[in-house]
């Protein structure tokens, strides 16, 4: 039988790999892909807990909002990414480091 822990473990793996991605990728879009993983892990967690605590509606709605907001965030982030590409001719974040110190 699949227990809650199994689900949570998969979700934790997604979360950690997402964080690893954002902390190491050079390409701005690569980092964004990582954030999608982090958000998906959280949404999955909500559904898992909603299911096992018999608060399905709440968990689902939360996950739904996560999906919606992730989409919104991605739209803005990609627009910003295109802007960066215009101004820097690259989306390699290692080269986008005028501001530092």
């Amino acid at each position: 039988m699949i227990s809650i822990q199994h689900y949570l473990l998969v979700s934790a793996a997604i979360f950690v790999l997402g964080l690893l991605t954002v902390a190491t990728r050079r390409n701005a879009l690569g980092i964004l892909l990582g954030t999608e993983l982090v958000l998906n892990a959280a949404a999955l967690n909500m559904v898992i807990f909603g299911r096992y605590s018999n608060h399905m509606a709440e968990g689902s709605i939360y996950a739904l909002f996560v999906i919606v907001l992730a989409a919104a965030e991605a739209a803005v982030a990609l627009a910003v990414g295109l802007m960066i590409y215009r101004n820097f001719k690259t989306i390699d974040t290692v080269e986008v480091d005028d501001l530092k110190g």
């Binding site: 190491t24 974040t93 480091d97 530092k100 110190g101």
Partner: protein, 710 residues
């Protein structure tokens, strides 16, 4: 005359200078036409002080008409702040102590305002100067009139602010601006301790159900926390010492005195008002006001007395070898403040406050006299270029001489009464409290001898002999002209010294008169009982300072030793005075021989015991060396790997270096340097790369998780 009126309107005392400040300040700031007229400016400024003085006198008269026990009136204005259990009113406490301080501030302040009319006559920033002066008086009055610690602190910070403004008055000169910054930073250290002490007192009282910052309530309930300890220390001793550290900053005691001599960069009236007569006495006033705390903390009192006595002697010996007339007076001020602290630390609060008052008279007179000399000499401060001024500036000479006799402690001038009272109380405490006080008394006597010597040295060099007879002693590289007080005026045609204008000599004369007779307010019982003259001053302050422990009042029998000590100290003062006169007039060969024989000793005093250099060598240089080491380390690590982990390691090592140095050296410049190094290291973590930022966030979460899970 119904003096109740003055009590009802006591708020006019601080308000008048504030209004003067606002009128002149706004005019100056907006460049309104009326500030172009010097008459308008100084009429407003002096008028404000005069009004305050009249009301201060009124308050004094009213208080003296009351029964001694009733002489404490709180004038409530409005609730200034209230947070939780902390409540502080804007309220004025009118009692014998604050009324004495008010009289000194407004009285001496008024004279110095009048003096400045002449002194600053040709300065382009005339109105700005009077603006600051008024602001200062306002802040100082807040400090002494506030009925709670918070108002005292506000005034404390306010007078500091004015002091920096006035030191840096001619801020076009870098040295002045730097002197202002030095004073600012040194005082911050003191203020930090002061705040801590204040909070500690408040919260300890809070724990015992009497949270209050007003002096009256602290005084009533402080007994409750007499035996409370924090980390093995009686809390009141900690409070006393912390507050005293604040006082060493503001009142220029060892080791935080270094700013005061530099502060002489400001205009001379400012030196007279702020750095001699009033602001620097804030620390004395604070101890007097909180005497009930100190009385319960005898260990703190010993610290106060010791620091005071050491400062008194230490600064006096530096005074021996100074050639700048204002520097002599500056070190003399440091030394005299030391006496006051010695008095406070002995538990003889009234004597300390008494010396505060007489000192305000004669030191203001001396400073203003030196200003008059400087002006007469066309902005020359080096005494070696002076001499023989007696005949050119008679009024200045006589007033200066009288004040010098007063400060030297020669009977029956004011300085004798106050200083002798302090020394006697210290001696007496040697028998009553601990024989340690005998040592302090010895330091004090030695300092008194030094004071008489260097003051007469100054008089001789300035006023006797021939003008410029000593100028050849000035090394060529030092022969700069009027480096401090130069505000570019005076047609430089006539170089003969001349007497100063009437406004200045008037102020000098009044102050000289006070220096001569001021002492009779506090005639010691030992002398007074022959003529049935009581010690007015001590009686006046008794309602405030009656917690003085076992050895106040009494006085029914006078031990013969007291007369002996009196004669002894007068004899010492006379001898030293004569030596000071002799060495610098008839037998000028003697000091030269002395210098030739003990060049090192002389150089030591001339260079102020190399304290500045020691600070530099011990602290700054060592830390610079450490910094070099760190920088080298830095370069290697940076070359190795520019990445987040490298930065973390660097930060860690810096932090460790920082802690080491703090505990090993722990002084101003050094800590500042290390904080800067820490900042530079931490700054490198901000690499400009977003994934590093996210990595730090992840790392932070993981570290905190580990911290809690293990």
């Amino acid at each position: 005359m119904n003096t109740q009126f003055f009590i009802d309107y006591a708020w006019i005392i601080p308000l008048a200078p504030l209004v003067g400040f606002l009128i002149n300040g706004i005019g100056t700031f907006l460049k309104l036409p009326y500030v172009r007229s010097k008459t308008v400016v100084h009429t407003i400024a002096c008028g404000a002080l005069l009004l305050s003085f009249i009301f201060a006198v009124g308050v004094f008269l009213h208080l003296s008409s009351l029964e001694p026990e009733a002489r404490s009136i709180t004038r409530y204005l409005y609730t200034w702040l209230q947070v939780g259990s902390l409540k502080a009113d804007a309220a004025f406490l009118l009692d014998p102590l604050s009324s004495v301080m008010m009289l000194i501030i407004t009285g001496v302040g008024f004279l110095i305002h009048v003096y400045s009319i002449g002194y600053m006559a040709d300065d382009p920033s005339y109105s700005r100067f009077f603006t600051y002066l008024n602001l200062f008086c306002f802040a100082m009055l807040l400090l002494v009139m506030g009925d709670n610690l918070l108002m005292l602190f506000i005034g404390w910070e306010g007078v500091g602010l004015c002091s920096y403004l006035l030191i840096g008055f001619w801020f076009k000169e870098k040295a002045n601006a730097q002197a202002g910054m030095k004073a600012f930073v040194v005082n911050r250290i003191g203020d930090f301790a002061f705040l801590l002490g204040m909070f500690l007192l408040f919260w300890t009282m809070y724990d015992y159900g009497h949270a209050s910052v007003t002096f009256k309530e602290i005084g009533q309930h402080v007994g409750l926390i007499k035996d409370v300890e924090v980390g093995g220390w009686p809390v009141l001793v900690l409070v006393g010492i912390l507050l005293f550290i604040g006082a060493t900053g503001k009142s220029a005691q060892v080791p935080l005195y270094v700013w005061l001599p530099d502060a002489m960069a400001g205009p001379t009236p400012v030196s007279g008002l702020i750095h001699a007569a009033t602001m620097v006495t804030a620390g004395i006033y604070m101890i007097g006001r909180l005497n009930f705390v100190y009385t319960l903390a005898p260990e703190a009192l010993v610290v106060v007395a010791t620091v005071g006595a050491v400062t008194a002697l230490f600064a006096a010996t530096i005074g021996f070898a100074q050639n700048d007339i204002k520097k002599v007076l500056a070190y003399s001020t440091v030394s005299q403040l030391g006496y006051m602290f010695l008095g406070m630390g002995t538990g003889a609060y009234a004597a300390g406050i008494f010396h505060l008052m007489t000192h305000a008279f004669f030191k203001a007179c001396l400073f203003l006299g030196s200003g008059s000399v400087i002006l007469g000499m066309h902005h020359e401060q080096d005494m070696r270029k002076m001499g023989g001024l007696k005949k050119y500036m008679p009024v200045t000479y006589w007033t200066f001489l009288l004040a010098t006799i007063a400060i030297a402690g020669i009977f029956p001038f004011s300085g004798f009464f106050s200083k002798d009272e302090i020394l006697w109380k210290a001696f007496e405490a040697g028998g009553h409290i601990s024989s340690w006080y005998y040592v302090l008394w010895g330091l004090g006597i030695a300092g008194a001898m030094g004071t008489a010597f260097y003051m007469f040295r100054a008089v001789s060099m300035t006023f006797y002999g021939e003008l410029g007879a000593r100028a050849h002693e000035v090394p060529a590289e030092e022969a700069s002209h009027g480096h401090d007080d130069d505000h570019g005026h005076h047609g430089h045609g006539d170089h003969t010294p001349h007497e100063s204008p009437k406004t200045m000599t008037f102020a000098l004369s009044v102050l000289a008169l006070l220096s001569v007779v001021g002492g009779f307010l506090g005639i010691p019982y030992a002398l007074g009982h022959f003529f049935h003259v009581p010690n007015f001053f001590e009686h006046w302050l008794e309602p405030v300072l009656n917690h003085g422990g076992g050895h106040h009042g009494g006085h029914h029998s006078v031990p013969p030793i007291e007369y002996g000590l009196m004669i002894f100290s007068v004899a010492i003062a006379l001898t030293a005075s004569y030596l000071g006169y002799l060495f610098y007039t008839k037998r000028q060969d003697l000091p030269k021989k002395f210098v030739a024989k003990f060049p090192k000793l002389h150089a030591l005093a001339l260079n102020k015991y190399y304290v500045d250099e020691i600070y530099q060598a011990l602290v700054v240089n060592n830390l610079l060396r450490l910094n070099n080491f760190l920088s080298a380390f830095d370069a290697k690590v940076v070359d190795g790997a520019v990445n987040a982990v490298g930065s973390v390691v660097r930060v860690y090592s810096r932090v460790m270096g920082f802690w080491d140095a703090t505990f090993v050296d722990g002084l101003v410049n050094g800590v500042a340097q290390l904080v800067r190094q820490l900042g530079r290291a931490l700054r490198k973590t901000q690499t400009g790369r977003i994934q590093n930022y996210l990595y730090v966030a992840m790392l932070g979460v993981v570290i905190l998780m580990i911290w809690r899970m293990l």
